[in-house]
């Protein structure tokens, strides 16, 4: 099925753990602002609201424990999907990954969810003095990426900073809100200084899934420019 912008006049069946994406708020924006894992099989059309997902909103909602801790049900408005054919084993693998991440959920509260959030790297293990791993911080992209990596699907190769296009502050503000103009917060989220930064944009994931299943399973996507933060491209 690969990736597609959904149609407003047609609903289609989308399987559990498909990647769902949401556009930014600007009218006619093609900038993908958020990605998440679809919680259950569902009929979706363009801009279907209140679709239940597992995601790093923030807050992190990866299972019953983290969901119970948040006052907001984890939902998003879905404008696009990215689907790779997952078999029963893949589904089990993602369920197990979610169960683990759910145990790493951090406190809720007004600003607390941000303390488990990171922009760069998209997945960050917080470590103790002796280097042992304690819990993970995610961006919304990192959450989805890590979930698929748990079943051996590496959607994007971000193993080297050179693999990722540099993203300037304007684009980061489109993705994460005007608050990131605050340097103290950028420091906290792993993007110090004035940029540009080699960060993962949500749109890259949709482009990564806009390939054949065989390609998705055998080779990680390499975004060629920050313009791939939009889907579809003009």
């Amino acid at each position: 099925m690969s990736a597609q912008r959904l149609r407003p006049d047609t609903r289609q069946r989308v399987p559990r753990f498909a990647v769902v994406g949401q556009y930014g708020e600007a009218p006619a924006s093609r900038f993908v602002q958020h990605v998440a894992l679809l919680r259950s099989d569902q009929e979706l059309g363009y801009a279907t609201p209140d679709v239940r997902v597992w995601h790093m909103g923030p807050p992190l909602v990866a299972g019953t424990i983290s969901e119970a801790a948040t006052v907001h049900e984890a939902t998003c408005t879905v404008h696009m999907i990215g689907v790779v054919d997952l078999d029963a084993q893949d589904v089990e693998g993602i369920e197990t990954w979610l169960a683990e991440v759910d145990t790493e959920d951090r406190p809720s509260g007004k600003l607390a969810p941000l303390r488990q959030y990171t922009i760069h790297p998209a997945v960050l293990w917080v470590t103790a003095e002796n280097g042992t791993r304690l819990y993970r911080r995610f961006s919304c992209v990192g959450f989805v990426l890590d979930g698929y990596r748990a079943i051996g699907i590496n959607l994007i190769d971000d193993s080297r900073a050179e693999n990722l296009p540099a993203v300037n502050l304007e684009t980061v503000a489109d993705a994460y809100g005007e608050g990131v103009r605050n340097e103290r917060l950028r420091n906290a989220f792993g993007i110090p200084g004035d940029g540009p930064w080699p960060i993962l944009l949500a749109g890259y994931l949709i482009h990564a899934l806009n390939r054949s299943d065989a390609e998705i399973r055998t080779s990680a996507y390499l975004p060629s420019s920050a313009a791939k933060g939009e889907f579809p491209l003009e």
Binding site: V71, E92, E95, L114, E178
Partner: protein, 265 residues
């Protein structure tokens, strides 16, 4: 439950930095909101780190803390590094908090228990690994089995166990978990599979020779994702040992793990 479609992180506005003395006043004020105290304390951890860390440890040691403030401190110590002389004290305290809360039915308390266990495992010396044994009991109101097994793996992440330091009961219990949760008749994705995975990795970290039989069970499941996830974790453990001590390759636990890993399909 309230529903929202807003998923963009809402970042707090920049505030003028208050003086250090004001921050200490806010941090020490027991009737102030937890979020206000915590914000002030986190700023102090940057501007006055030695005193702020000592304050966190002293506060955490108190028995008369309000629940919300205690929970905030438990989470906070996952985010800060402690000087060596304070680690045993904090590890002891976190285990005591985890033990006291695991029978609680309060919403969200499991997060506090799990956080306390994780951090305690990173602070206590490997010779005290058996202190996690009570958390491997059958589920209390807060199910600590999966996290406690993960903790055992992490206790030994810096170095394999010194022979003779481990009580047999710990190895026996972990082995029971591994065989029970890898049984094809009960194996299922999600929490059960996570317990199985964590038990396999804990057994490897403990250097137990029964790891071979457990890995045979993993292979018999025929779940490629399970093999992949277990392999990634066991390779991480091997690399962690190897990177810290070049001579570790002669250690029985290292050899056991290296040999068994070859049999994982």
């Amino acid at each position: 439950m309230e529903t929202t479609t807003t998923t963009t992180p809402t970042l707090p506005p920049e505030a003028d930095s208050p003086a250090v003395s004001e921050l200490w006043s806010a941090t020490r004020d027991p009737v102030s909101r937890v979020s206000r105290r915590l914000d002030a304390l986190q700023t102090l951890l940057e501007s006055d780190p030695v005193a702020a860390v000592e304050f966190v440890v002293d506060e955490l040691s108190r028995d008369d803390l309000a629940e919300g403030w205690r929970d905030a401190l438990v989470f906070l110590v996952e985010d800060i590094h402690l000087p060596e002389p304070l680690r045993q004290r904090v590890g002891d305290r976190l285990l005591a908090i985890a033990a006291s809360l695991r029978g609680s039915a309060k919403l969200g308390v499991e997060k506090v228990v799990w956080s306390a266990l994780r951090r305690a495992a990173s602070l206590l010396p490997p010779a005290q690994a058996e202190r996690f044994l009570p958390f491997l009991d059958c589920p209390s109101l807060v199910d600590t089995r999966s996290v406690a097994l993960r903790c055992l793996e992490r206790v030994f992440e810096p170095a394999p166990p010194v022979e003779g330091h481990l009580v047999t009961a710990l190895r026996e219990r972990v082995t029971q978990f591994a065989f029970k949760f890898l049984d094809p008749d009960v194996f299922a994705g999600g929490e059960n599979a996570l317990i199985a995975q964590n038990a396999v990795c804990a057994l490897a970290a403990l250097g137990d020779p029964r790891l071979g039989g457990v890995i045979d069970r993993v292979n018999q499941l025929g779940r490629s994702w399970m093999n992949r996830q277990v392999r990634a974790r066991l390779e991480h453990l091997l690399e962690s040992w190897r990177s810290r001590d070049a001579s570790v390759s002669n250690h029985p636990a290292f050899q056991n793990l290296e040999d068994r890993l070859r049999t994982l399909r």
